[in-house]
Symmetry: D2
Subunit: 215 residues, 4 copies
């Protein structure tokens, strides 16, 4: 039996919930495409988040990893293309720290591309009637730190496991407090994440379809 | 037993569904706050839509009327404040007609304010965890035509019935075809419309809370 | 010699300048299409703004009136279609007052359409290479109050003078303090307003071209 | 005397002008902070653009390089943080080619960070009253290809020259054809680029100020 590790975050930025954890925890123990989902909540704390992630990776030795985070203001499921080697916090983290232009890994490479079949995931999620797209930036906050840290861990461990990051919109109940902000129902997010797991396990080679941006 | 008429539209603009009709038809026959919901689908045809509406009003003699329409690109439930006396079609209607700057009612007043308790509806929908806001414009297409036409009918009939218009976002399956567009689940829209009916029937005087725009 | 009155506002909402006044005061005394421009600054104070406007109208007896206001967040010159009979202040005015859902004129009509050739102005401004569009709502703050008040004055005075309202974007120096906000140079705004005056004086019948919104 | 190479692009995507070239060519031969500006226009053609760039670099041996490109839809001067090793063309280039998910440099690093003092440039441009911000993605079209290609050339040549990429908005005359799109005057863009050159030559160490994104 294969194991898929899914991570998500605790609330931050004044929110009561984090939609990533609301969705991911609903998948704990679920069987998808012959694999079991194991979940972990990560702290929105720069100095701790990769310790918690790495410990989970060491302990679980997953066959694939999908990390999930909240992207308040985005309308759709966004599958991240790349994680970059920098922390530049627009707001303080949950420990009150706000690093600016610090490398995540000293002398690490500038970036890692996702190991997920990002185009195939977007296509399959849309096919299911749920808005999705490729994103060219995961930002420079703890989400990007987890994406970069995860891919750096896989690289330095010599692992061939697939792994990457997916951002999700606010929940409707969050957007009700942010007039004008788009949202997505928990049911849709959960279904999209199940699709992402299935595609990650079943699709060997990613689709060659457009998912870029002119800028 | 009171009767509430709810109207919604057929698909237009190249869409296969209209989320307004998907939501409203789910409420047909439902009992809310001591009233029965009766529903009608309206054509997205300038020359016909008010005939169909007025015939329904004559036949049903509803105690309250809520008309609903799709606002592709908006993120939340938007309760319209005002309908204005002009058709100015950005795209052709379903009969291929595109009126420009024509009065809906010759020598009619420039506008009618909604007779719904718009602030109380927005507050109650948000309270239920569903994004909502007041909108200062219903546009100049068939939605605005229905809003103006409805309020003109109530006025000229000497009716004291409440009536107004609510715009709703794309469904997720529509937004999946419009990258970047926000959406709302059918379940959330239906719940919001039920709340709107209940508040319309139960709240006598609208709330005095901010819902304006600086421009 | 004809006279055109142009009004603009003092700064509000924490800004140091109001781009409407920066542009309009540059036109003081200018001759356009055989008319002289006279300018007035209006206070962003609900209880005073129409007194100042009406006094200027009584005193100057202009042949045409164009009122201008700041629309922070809009990208282009927006020529307003309609002013509505309601104050609903999203933020306090410069006297600290924040009226909610109060009629501008008790028992006044719900709205007045602009008396400007709005489509012809938009077309001519675009032709000059400056972004412009028709707007279906002037909001519910002091800008809308001036538009409604101006058109009500013209109506009740039996005047046939043309009059209406134009919103303009932030200046670049304002947008530099509002990351992500669009802006327009003072030179472009001034040129657009000159065109608006010229078109208002020279074009008898407005163009029949699309300028509407589906919602 | 030092030399600064500035590159910009030919028109693409159906436009008659490219605002990057309109601004950059105005700087040809100009002296800024003790350096002379040399300019080159680049083709919006994936298969050619780096040949033209590299030839210019070989020939001019500049002390610093700032490449500039159009970002239609952005409101402000955006200084790019990173170029990534992928072409994924949302639209065809000027030769009709549309590469999807192809590496710019086979076995090249995933990304290069800008060598410009991006925070100091943003701060100085804003200080001059012109909207600016850091961007976390240069997209995946020819702009990103130039940024990555430039930084790869500097790296492989063992050069310590500063270099990077700046995106600029539409010109007003372009935005007049794209209703709703923001724009910036040529004068403001030119001034912003002069500031970028000056800061690049004069500021040794970049500012430590926030310029990140949560996602």
């Amino acid at each position: 039996m294969k194991t898929v590790l899914m991570t998500a975050f605790e609330p931050f930025g004044g929110e009561d919930v984090n939609p990533s954890w609301e969705a991911v925890r609903a998948l704990e123990g679920k069987q998808i495409a012959g694999a079991t989902i194991v979940t972990r909540q990560l702290p929105v704390v720069f100095s701790e988040v990769l310790n918690v992630l790495n410990q989970a990776l060491d302990e679980i030795k997953p066959d694939a990893i999908i990390s999930v985070g909240q992207a308040g203001g985005r309308s759709d499921i966004t599958v991240e293309r790349i994680g970059i080697n920098v922390d530049d916090a627009r707001i303080p983290d949950n420990a009150g720290k706000q690093p600016v232009d610090e490398a995540i890994v000293q002398d690490g490479p500038a970036a890692y591309f996702s190991r997920l079949p990002i185009k195939a995931i977007v296509a399959a999620v849309r096919e299911a009637g749920i808005p999705a797209s490729v994103s060219q930036t995961a930002g420079t906050f703890t989400c990007n730190r987890v994406m970069y840290g995860l891919l750096h861990w896989l690289q330095t461990q010599g692992s061939s496991a697939r792994g990457g990051f997916i951002h999700i919109p606010y929940l409707p109940e969050q957007a009700a407090q942010h007039p004008g902000a788009p949202s997505m129902s928990s049911a849709n997010v959960i279904q999209a994440l199940e699709i992402a797991v299935r595609v990650t396990l079943e699709i060997k080679e990613d689709l060659k379809v457009v998912g870029g941006a002119t800028h």
